[in-house]
């Protein structure tokens, strides 16, 4: 039994006390707690960062203290009687009184502002921009609670005259915990085991088992893939398909390995900039290659390259900092202390990547076939033996990524070449007599030039010259798509202007060139087998990969872009140049952050106030239905304020320090709490004092996500495949969904178990996403989505009732049940148990019985209908299908509670 609260209500007393003190004006006003809410609610809409009516804005202190349009000072520190702000909020004339056309401020609010100015009008940063501090864990004389989370939540419950609820029934608990940690319900055996496990730590054992399940990563990846806007297509118009599923698999593995969140961050944002990045670290950079590509004929590639860069800026800030950068593109932030120039400083981190809205989706990482992989290893060994390991890594990198490449925008001179740069094209078209040149290329030690090209009509050749001296040539053969050729170079010492001359005997000759790079000569000349190695090196450059995935690469230092401020957000009007930097309001240190790697490291450093809090809040919102900060995507001044600020900081500090960014440890702490384990039955007390459960005195009931719903249905009916990883799959969907312009791509239902994989493997074409997922509020992943909005609509009901995928699941369950050696009642009981992980109440069992009996009569009388439904005149089976279909539509099945 719970003890009754005996905690004195000193909170209320203290408020009275505070009010008393404040009236004799000796108490220090707390800017964030007392002043900022008034400014945000009453003033900032007109006196913000963009709209500064009367020349008065309240986002930065220096603005607020400046002279306003009419020459007066709104705020004079220490002198409320000289401050126009005070005069205007107290004004008797409603046309002069602020806020205009609104209720006047009340006396208390006026007092607070007056005293605040009297005390010097000191500014304090918004809570989220201050570093978290170790909070004191509240202590109560109360038996309830398992870990400090409960101390924090209990404090709020008691403060709001609430009592914690009892622990949920073990059946409910295991279903809830399984759905939360691995996105799937438990099997009946797992339920039995847990329910019958009388040991004291049975719950903890269950938590540990689920945390170590490979399905943990599959479940949590879905949350992250919404943020990463992962999809299998490019987005615009013909919405061509995209191969980037290796990134999806990387995310699953990262969650399963419990990759610390700081590494998780650095590898995704800047894995390519780490010293000698591994293949996995390159795959991870797919995070920011999930942006939309526009291949439509006639589109300007630069316009959509910039759109992608801007999306990367906004997404980075939303995901790690819950800060809304979108508005700062055109003007300074209306509410938060971020200036327009600072958006472009953030953009400078991302503006140097080598990708640029092209049909090839360059750069991509080749996942080599096994035999080629072996050859590459042998080659690396050779180079390391006769040359250096660095050199081996560099060659491998060039083979696998086709970077760093010198492309059209880097050429210093061209003759007779046309830059085709629209739609899905972006290359130099060359003809007989064309040439392209790049100055100041160091040719020392270079043995080969790799040219990327597509030969259209006729054959020709390319001659390579250094300062006019021929050092190599290659014959160009026709090719249906872009390919590469390795040209041997004669040794040349020093820096030269490198020129490629194109020649052909045919008048109609033309070639598309897509850049080139130079490769060091293979070391070990004269050694046994050298020639074979050279041949292998060349073959590897041409090798067709098993598959590919999009990755991030920066342009070579010499060819980096200059980032400029866009006039009112327009990329066609660029102004002053900027260096990479993060907004000053978020960072005191003035040392230069140079690139994405510096940015990523700063995000997960001790000096960042937001990252740990933002991530803790994301996990919390998934487990508790609502975040400690309800607006998980916005921690800015107009975002929600935390309901449990001390708890948020306590968790953030555990996460970033004690747990060394272990996401599993963080999740474990949350689900081990008594707060998490409460029942979801709403007590009368809670109904009265906190029906919306802000203070967490019971467990929330939340509708399952689109993917969870599908996975759960397949799992309980015995259809789910546990196959992991690989290319996305196509389960059944109705005809005609992929009716996309200029596209021959077809939805072809996957074979065998691939049609029954978990939802996160379902092929996601952005312009025509899997219909039942969209109906259940999944994202089509065009933009970063922090929160899906749950709806409850008749179209959802129609989906789970009639979608052939759900009907098939019901039939499968019915079939399995029908085959059991048991009486009807036992069968129905078991069917319910399979679906809900617990035995039915007698009331529910009776309802199922009468449904079954009635359906049995119906299908006995209408054998044709039974044949239609189950393929044979079996009234028993048909009736069970109806029962199963009904069970799969129960509210309790659609939610976790």
């Amino acid at each position: 039994m719970l003890k009754t609260p005996i905690k004195p209500k000193f909170i209320n007393l203290s408020i009275v006390l505070l009010l008393l003190i404040s009236s004799c004006s000796s108490r220090k006003i707390d800017f964030n707690a007392e002043v900022r809410p008034i400014l945000n609610n009453k003033c900032i809409a007109c006196h913000g960062g963009v709209k500064q009516s009367g020349g008065f804005g309240l986002v930065f202190r220096e603005n607020a203290l400046g002279k306003t349009t009419n020459g007066k000072y709104a705020i004079v520190p220490g002198k409320p009687d000289k401050s126009e702000l005070i005069a205007r909020i107290k004004h008797h004339d409603p046309e002069m009184r602020m806020p205009l056309d609104a209720e006047p401020l009340n006396e208390e609010e006026i007092n607070i502002l007056t005293e605040w100015i009297e005390q010097g009008a000191e500014w304090e940063d918004h809570w989220a921009y201050l570093l978290p501090e170790e909070p004191e864990i509240p202590q109560q004389d109360h038996e309830w609670g398992v870990n400090p989370i409960d101390k924090f939540t209990l404090d709020k419950m008691l403060e709001h005259d609430l009592q914690p609820s009892a622990e949920a029934d073990k059946h409910d608990l295991i279903r809830r915990l399984s759905l939360d940690l691995i996105g799937l319900p438990p099997t009946l055996e797992e339920v039995d085991q847990f329910v019958n496990d009388q040991s004291e730590n049975s719950y903890e054992k269950l938590v540990d088992r689920l945390l170590n399940s490979p399905q943990f990563g599959e479940h949590w990846a879905t949350m992250w893939l919404d943020l990463a806007r992962y999809a299998d297509s490019r987005g615009y118009e013909k919405d061509a398909l995209r191969s980037i599923w290796m990134y999806r698999d990387w995310v699953i593995k990262a969650f399963n390995e419990d990759k610390p969140f700081d590494e998780f961050t650095i590898e995704q944002l800047a894995g390519d900039l780490l010293p000698q990045p591994t293949i996995d670290q390159l795959v991870a950079t797919g995070f920011h290659r999930n942006t939309l590509n526009n291949d439509e004929g006639g589109t300007f590639n630069e316009e959509y390259r910039i759109a992608q860069v801007i999306d990367r800026v906004s997404t980075t800030w939303e995901v790690w900092q819950a800060s809304t950068m979108g508005c700062v593109q055109c003007h300074s932030h209306p509410y938060d202390p971020i200036k327009m120039k600072e958006f472009y400083q953030s953009m400078a981190f991302f503006n140097n990547s080598a990708d640029w809205d092209v049909g090839t989706e360059f750069p991509v990482l080749k996942d080599l076939k096994e035999e080629d992989d072996q050859k590459l290893e042998d080659l690396k060994k050779w180079i390391s033996t006769y040359g250096a390991k660095d050199q081996a890594d560099e060659v491998a990198h060039k083979i696998l990524t086709g970077t760093p490449r010198i492309i059209h925008e880097d050429y210093t001179d061209t003759t007779g070449a046309v830059h085709q740069n629209r739609g899905d094209q972006d290359f130099m078209e060359v003809f007989d007599g064309s040439s392209i040149s790049v100055s100041d290329i160091d040719l020392t030690g270079k043995g080969y030039l790799v040219l990327f090209y597509r030969q259209r009509d006729q054959t020709g050749k390319v001659v390579v010259k250094a300062n006019g001296k021929e050092i190599g040539y290659g014959a160009l053969e026709r090719s249906g798509s872009f390919t590469q050729m390795v040209i041997d170079l004669e040794p040349y010492k020093g820096v030269a202007e490198l020129t490629l001359h194109f020649r052909s005997e045919h008048e109609k000759y033309r070639t598309y060139t897509d850049g080139f790079f130079l490769v060091d000569e293979l070391p070990g000349k004269g050694e046994d087998g050298y020639e074979e190695r050279v041949a292998e090196l060349k073959a590897l450059f041409q090798a067709d990969p098993e598959n590919t995935t999009l990755i991030m690469q920066d342009k070579p230092e010499r060819f980096q872009r200059v980032t400029r401020v866009f006039h009112r957000g327009s990329w066609q009007e660029q102004e002053e140049a900027v260096e990479p930097a993060v907004p000053a309001s978020l960072r005191d240190d003035s040392t230069q952050l140079n690139n994405r790697l510096d940015l990523a490291k700063w995000l997960v450093s001790d000096e960042n106030p937001l990252t740990a809090r933002v991530m803790v809040n994301r996990f919390w919102s998934k487990l508790f239905g609502v975040g400690i900060v309800e607006t998980v995507e916005d921690f800015g001044t107009i975002g929600a304020i935390p309901t449990h600020p001390e708890l948020l900081d306590w968790l953030a500090l555990r996460f970033s320090h004690d747990y060394e960014w272990s996401m599993k440890k963080l999740v474990k702490t949350m689900v081990m709490s008594a707060t998490y384990r409460q029942t979801s039955v709403v007590s009368e007390l809670a109904k009265q004092n906190d029906p919306n459960n802000v203070w967490l005195s019971f467990s929330p009931r939340t509708r399952l996500s689109a993917e969870q719903l599908r996975d759960q249905t397949l799992a309980v009916t015995g259809l789910l495949s546990d196959k992991m990883y690989g290319p996305s799959v196509m389960p059944y969907q109705p005809e005609g969904i992929w009716n996309v312009v200029y596209s021959g791509n077809k939805w072809v239902v996957s074979d065998g178990e691939d049609a029954y994989r978990r939802g996160l493997y379902t092929f996601l074409r952005r312009s025509a996403a899997y219909p039942s997922f969209i109906t259940f509020d999944a994202s089509s992943r065009d933009v970063c989505v922090s929160r899906r909005i749950n709806t409850n609509t008749p179209l959802q009901a129609l989906t789970t009732l009639n979608d052939p995928a759900y009907v098939e699941a019901a039939s499968h369950l019915a079939n399995e049940i029908a085959q059991l050696e048991a009486d009807d009642e036992q069968k129905l009981k078991l069917a319910y148990q399979r679906v809900m992980c617990k035995p039915p109440s007698s009331e529910k069992l009776n309802l199922l019985k009468s449904l079954y009996e009635e359906m049995h009569v119906q299908y006995t009388n209408d054998r044709a209908a039974a044949v239609e439904l189950v393929g044979e005149p079996d009234a028993n089976k048909a009736a069970l299908v109806i029962v199963a279909n009904t069970l799969l539509n129960m509210d309790e099945f659609i939610v976790k509670s």
């Binding site: 929600a640 312009v741 312009s767 209908a865 539509n889």
Partner: protein, 483 residues
């Protein structure tokens, strides 16, 4: 138990109005609850006051989008001077600083390829490509100097349908149903009908709900199989059996409610009741088989066909049933001159023939039912076409075609609250640029919202820390076209 009312009562008991508003503005799904529970007028409450903001003229919209962008110079914007310039090189001054999708080098001017005449009492020009529409030209209100920012199909369609050329914003139909709800709870409030063989270039984003709850996205009516996905019962499950199984489902859910006390369960029960009703109302509303022969003839219906004409008749039926926003897309108007069908002489005549009679029939039909006075019909593409003949890669094309053009195109509207027969805006003598009363996409959107009783500047939704509007930070209601 009357679940509808019970849920509503419990709901109100459970949440104070203040909380309801808070939830709305942070979008936790309560909003959905509000509108589904028949409290649809409350849905707009969080957006700075009650929607509608003032008395609406139009109750519903039928939006006819010609995907690919028809040439204004062959249909409504008559330019005799251009005829005289036909075949001459385009003066460089017209090309300076302009961006085109395909034109390169110096293109030639291309005169109108259709015959124009003045029509009706108002004397507006309509070409012979649209004889039926020409006969009722006095019912139309033209915007002749429309302009946009985007010259590629997908971004331009997004701009006109969502107010932004990038994906992720709610479409106009979503905004409208979010604000005004549906007039018929047994049908979706926003429905999309497609003809011409392809979805529009912008894909389903053109009717997506963006950051608004997903229930406000357009529901696509399908041409074969279920008219709306999953509306029919599986083979072997009769309506009777479905009814009986839903009755048990309801009792199971009631038992759960008794145990747990979560009002969302009641909401679920009512969704299933509504779904059961929709299984009847949807196929009924989407079946034009039983329309009288003279009506079918008037529209030029092909029985069982998937034509624009069929969709026009369906649009009228859905409008009658209270669907708030009916969006038609007809694909195949992108006439660059790459083929006969893609030409502005022959191709556009063929394409016009497919839409001319049905649109005229739709307007007359609405009128004879007294519905034109509170229905707003909008017709247009996503941008215009150049007065120059397209010369892709600088070469003469096999057929006569025009490139994409942002600076001038024609949109017309008809019905509720408009000055019929009025023509607003003028382009220069070659139809290249608006010279009088230019109107932007956002102005059109502001005007549509205005006719529905909504102030486009006040109708906002907070997402990721910012109050978003359909018209972004732009747009002015085009007062002069209002009756």
């Amino acid at each position: 138990m009357d679940h509808f009312n019970e849920a509503r009562r419990k709901y109100l008991e459970f949440t104070t109005r203040r909380h309801f508003l808070k939830k709305c503005s942070t979008g936790l799904g309560m909003l959905a609850f509000g509108s589904l529970m028949g409290m649809d007028k409350m849905a707009g409450l969080d957006s700075n006051g009650v929607v509608p903001h003032f008395a609406p003229k139009a109750k519903r919209v039928i939006y006819l989008h010609m995907a690919g962008a028809p040439s204004q110079l062959e249909l409504f914007d008559y330019k005799p001077v251009l005829e005289k310039l036909n075949g001459q090189d385009c003066p460089p001054s017209l090309l300076e600083g302009k961006r085109f999708a395909f034109i390169e080098g110096i293109p030639q001017m291309l005169g109108p390829q259709q015959k124009f005449r003045q029509r009706g009492e108002a004397g507006n020009y309509v070409s012979d490509a649209m004889p039926h529409l020409a006969s009722i030209a006095d019912k139309l209100t033209f915007l002749k100097a429309m302009h946009t920012d985007e010259f590629n199909h997908a971004p331009a369609q997004l701009l006109i349908q969502t107010g932004s050329s990038r994906v992720g914003r709610p479409s106009i139909g979503s905004w409208v149903t979010y604000g005004l709800g549906s007039e018929n709870e047994n049908l979706p409030g926003y429905m999309v009908l497609i003809s011409g063989g392809n979805n529009p270039d912008a894909g389903k984003n053109a009717w997506g709900s963006g950051f608004l709850p997903s229930e406000y996205q357009g529901v696509q009516c399908r041409n074969s199989g279920d008219p709306i996905l999953f509306v029919s019962n599986p083979d072997g499950i009769s309506r009777d059996i479905r009814g009986r199984s839903l009755e048990t489902l309801k009792k199971l859910n009631e038992a759960e409610y008794k145990e747990i006390g979560d009002p969302e369960i009641l909401s679920r029960i009512s969704q299933y009741e509504m779904a059961f009703k929709m299984q009847i109302s949807v196929p009924e509303s989407m079946d034009i088989k039983d329309e009288p022969e003279y009506i079918k003839k008037m529209y030029g219906i092909e029985d069982g066909g998937n034509t624009f004409a069929n969709n026009c008749l369906l649009a009228r039926k859905l409008a009658e049933k209270g669907v708030r926003f009916i969006q038609l897309y007809d694909w195949g108007w992108d006439m660059h001159g790459t083929s006969e069908n893609g030409s502005v002489d022959i191709g556009i005549r063929k394409k016009s023939k497919e839409i001319d009679q049905p649109i005229a029939a739709l307007l007359k039909d609405l009128e004879q039912r007294g519905m034109l006075e509170d229905t707003l019909v909008v017709w247009g593409g996503e941008f215009g076409r150049t007065p120059m003949r397209e010369n892709r890669k600088g070469e003469v094309m096999s057929y006569l075609g025009r490139d994409h053009h942002v600076d001038a195109f024609t949109v017309w509207m008809a019905g509720a609250g408009l000055k019929a027969g009025y023509s607003h805006g003028e382009t220069d003598e070659i139809g290249y640029f608006g010279v009088k009363d230019r109107t932007h996409i956002h102005d059109l959107q502001a005007t549509i919202l205005h006719l529905l009783g909504m102030d486009h500047e006040k109708f906002t939704y907070r997402f990721q820390g910012r109050d978003f509007r359909l018209t972004d930070v732009h747009g002015h209601v085009i007062d002069k076209v209002l009756a």
